[in-house]
Each structure stands twice: as C-alpha cells, then as structure tokens.
C-alpha cells in the first residue's frame, strides 16, 4: 500500500530522511515514534506529498509520487490526514467541515453527503454537535470531527501526526478509542504517536526513528520488551519514567 525505497530528504543541508525503507501493507497499522526532531512528521507528510522527497522511490496505493503523471489531488483524496492541531475550517459548521470535500471533490449530492456525515458523527459520538462551530468544541471533540472529516472522503489510507499531543489528558482516551475502532475496520493507518498503550494494543508494527534514520522496526511486544538499539532503549526509558 505504501512503499518507501531508499528515500532521502533534505531541508537545505539538514538530512531529515536518511535512506528510509518501509513497507506498509493494506490493513496494517504502523506506529512511528522517536525523539523530537527525528523526522517523524516529515516522514508521514511525504506520504501525501505535503513534503516532496529528494531521492529514492515512494509509491502510495499504486501511485508513484515522483512521477509527473501522478494526479496529486487524486492521491490526496485517497489519503486522509489528521493533524496535531486539528485544523478544522473555523468558518464552517461541523457538518459543513465534513461535507465540503465530498461535495466539491467527489461531487456527492449534498443530501447524501450530509447523511454520510451524520453517520460519521454518530461513529465518533458527536451527532449532537452537527451545527456547532469548531471554536465551540473541546480539543478532543475537534479532533474527532477532524477524523470524521478525513473519513468522509472514504480514504484508503489514514495518516495521523501526533493526534493526541495537543489534548488535555482527559480527552486523549476518546480520540484513541475512535482510532482503535477505525483500525478494527481494516483501515491502513500510519500513526505518529507516543501513546505506547495504543501502540501496544492496536499497532501491527512499531517503527523507531532517530535523526532521519529508521533504527528499529518490530512488533510492539518485541519493541517494548526487547529494544535492540541503545537509542530506542533510552527513548523508552524516558517515555516510561514517572518524570515524563
């Protein structure tokens, strides 16, 4: 579904992705973790070409991201992206946030799009908020709407960049629950997160990055119980220490 082959990326002289190889199969849930600045966001943003790569090969759902012939907007319509800061459209109601792309891009009739939006809102437990505006919602609610908005395009892949990092602790659970439910439906997901509980329960694989390099790639149990690399051990220790 997603295949990185010897991918490199630089920001000026900074080597942010260094020979990345990664294969995400259909229906797989892959969690990406690593210290701040290690290139996690950059990695996930290359998948829908929010960031272009400089070297190597990257194919997503059969589309070659380096080929000039690939229709970027079509690719992006197939790939849902959930941001750390939600990024809902503040001038639109919850319902319109969800129906905008389906009606304008997929040309779904308005009534049908609204019915689907309501189903998605039920699914994330926010049907009663259909007419609210983003500023009237809590962070956790905004993020659940953002997930519903991405799902409304019926994407084949969902990407999450630290979806719970901006949330108050008591709201993290509700968002992770929605993501866990989504994983159960067989959605292909790449999730940047430090929520190790989620990784343990939901992920098929955990990828550990440092300085633009994928240092470790393992099943969750294996990664948590028996990390190979010193940097990974150190990272886990810091993450699990009560001081954190």
């Amino acid at each position: 579904m997603i295949q990185f082959q010897n991918v490199h990326k630089w920001f000026k002289t900074l080597h942010v992705l260094n020979d990345v190889n990664l294969h995400v199969k259909q229906g797989e849930v892959v969690v990406v973790c690593g210290p701040s600045g290690s290139g996690k966001s950059t990695l996930i943003r290359t998948i829908n070409k929010l960031e272009p790569i400089n070297e190597g090969h990257l194919t997503v759902d059969g589309m070659d991201l380096l080929s000039k012939k690939t229709d970027l907007n079509r690719l992006r319509a197939e790939v849902g992206f959930v941001f750390q800061q939600f990024n809902l459209y503040p001038h639109l109601s919850v319902l319109s946030n969800i129906t905008l792309a389906p009606t304008k891009i997929r040309k779904t009739p308005k009534k049908e799009a609204e019915e689907q939006a309501m189903q998605l809102l039920e699914r994330v437990g926010l049907a009663m908020k259909r007419d609210a505006y983003p500023t009237q919602l809590s962070g956790g609610q905004q993020q659940r709407v953002a997930i519903a908005r991405a799902l409304a395009m019926k994407p084949r892949i969902m990407l999450f960049d630290e979806p719970t990092s901006a949330l108050d602790p008591e709201m993290i659970g509700e968002v992770l629950q929605v993501m866990q439910d989504l994983a159960k439906t067989g959605m292909t997901m790449v999730v940047v997160t430090h929520e190790m509980g989620f990784a343990r329960e939901v992920a098929d694989r955990v990828v550990f990055m440092d300085h633009g390099v994928i240092l470790e790639e393992a099943q969750p149990e294996e990664f948590f119980l028996n990390p190979q690399h010193d940097r990974a051990k150190q990272f886990l220790k810091q993450l699990l220490s009560p001081m954190h």
């Binding site: 907007n73 992006r76 990024n87 459209y89 891009i105």
Partner: protein, 234 residues
C-alpha cells in the same frame, strides 16, 4: 451681514429635485457596479499575488504598484480620452453604443480601487494560519479551490473593516466621474447651482446624500458581517 436668501423648496421638489434624484440614481449605479467589480477583481489580483508561479506574482505586483500610485483622475481621463486608441475597434464600437462616459468612469474606479482591495485581502490571506492551506490541500483541493472554499472566506471576514473603507472611498470617488460628463450627483448639483444660483442648497443636499450613502454602506456591510459571515457569533 449675510444677505443670502435660503430657499430649500427649490431642491425638495420640481425640476431641480428631479435632477438631483437622477444624479443620485447614477451615483448609486456607479458605486454598486464599482464595488462589485473592484471586489471581484481585487480577489483575483490578491490570489495572483499569492501564486507560486513567479511571472503571475510579478504581474500582480506591477498592477498593484501602477494603479495605486497614479491619480484616479488621470486614470479616468485615460480610459475616457485615451483608451479608444489602444482598444480593438469592436470594443470601441460596443462602448460607443453603451454609455461610454459611464463605462470609462466605472472601469477606472474598479481598477483603481481593486488595487487597494487586493492589498487588504492579501494581508487577510497572510494572517490565515498556513495549516489551513495544508488541511485543504490534504483533503485533495487544488490551490485555487483551497483559496475559494477555505482561505478566502476566512480572509474576507477579517478584511471587512478595511473593505468597508475602500467601498466608502469608491462611492465618494465616483464624484470625479463628473469631469468626463457622467451625470451623477455632483454633476447635477453643479447644474442646479448654475441654473438657480442656489449653490449652498444644492451642495448641502449633495453632501447629505453622500453622507447617507456612506452610512448605508457601513450599515449594510455590518449587517452582512453579522448575519451571513459570522452567524455563530450572534
């Protein structure tokens, strides 16, 4: 001692009243056409200025600098006296069959004001967090569609106060159209003055009407902002 004999009745009824009303009608038409045209053109120029294609950005910059920095009166004269020399014959014929003075004044007002409006909208666009564009692009919207559905609606909302200013300027500037013979309000006030020698009454009436027009524009924009653009805040 002031010996002037005030006579308001001549401008509140009869021939002179009709002149002033017909002038007001043209002022309203010119302002309406001007505001709509300048707003639309301003949006287009603002988006061109934000394009990631360099020649388009450059073109927009030249447009902005040129039309903001030359006097409106010269621009009106240019379109009225000079344009037929550079425009294709077909366009000229069409213009001659329409109301040419009105068209020249409207074009000048639209282009001149659009340059200011474009700058205001552009600063509005720049104040929208770049994550909004990212969210739109991630959903599969093209650059232009992202602008249309996500960025511009937000940018215009925060640009309302300076936009109102530009609309007021345009309405007031429309009085310059009298210089090329558009029979708008100021023109008619001059007519009344030269026929009746009641200059004080005629220009007081015109002043009051311009004031009423400005207040109406401000009021309507305020209403639009509250009821249509920001229903969630009211």
């Amino acid at each position: 001692m002031l010996k002037y004999h005030f006579d308001w009745s001549i401008i509140t009824s009869g021939k002179y009243f009709e002149w002033l009303v017909s002038g007001l009608k043209i002022t309203l038409e010119l302002s309406a056409v001007g505001i709509v045209g300048a707003f639309v053109l301003g949006l287009v120029i603002a988006v061109l200025k934000m394009s990631n294609f360099k020649p388009l950005r450059w073109l927009a910059s030249v447009y902005l600098e040129f039309f903001r920095n030359t006097p409106l009166l010269i621009q009106i004269f240019f379109w009225y006296f000079g344009s037929y020399k550079i425009l294709p014959t077909a366009v000229n014929e069409w213009l001659n069959n329409t109301n040419f003075e009105f068209a020249a004044a409207a074009i000048a007002l639209i282009i001149y004001t659009s340059a200011f409006i474009a700058e205001d909208i552009r600063s509005g666009i720049l104040s929208i967090p770049k994550e909004q564009m990212e969210a739109a692009r991630s959903a599969g919207f093209s650059f232009l569609r992202s602008m249309q559905y996500i960025i511009l609606p937000q940018a215009v909302r925060i640009t309302i106060p300076p936009l109102v200013n530009q609309f007021l300027n345009l309405a007031k500037n429309s009085s310059l159209a009298m210089t090329i013979g558009v029979m708008e309000l100021t023109y008619q006030a001059r007519q009344v003055e030269s026929y009746s020698f009641k200059g004080f009454e005629a220009f007081t009436a015109a002043t009051v009407v311009y004031l009423a027009l400005s207040v109406s524009i401000t009021f309507l924009m305020d209403l639009y902002n509250k009821k249509v653009l920001n229903p969630q805040r009211s």
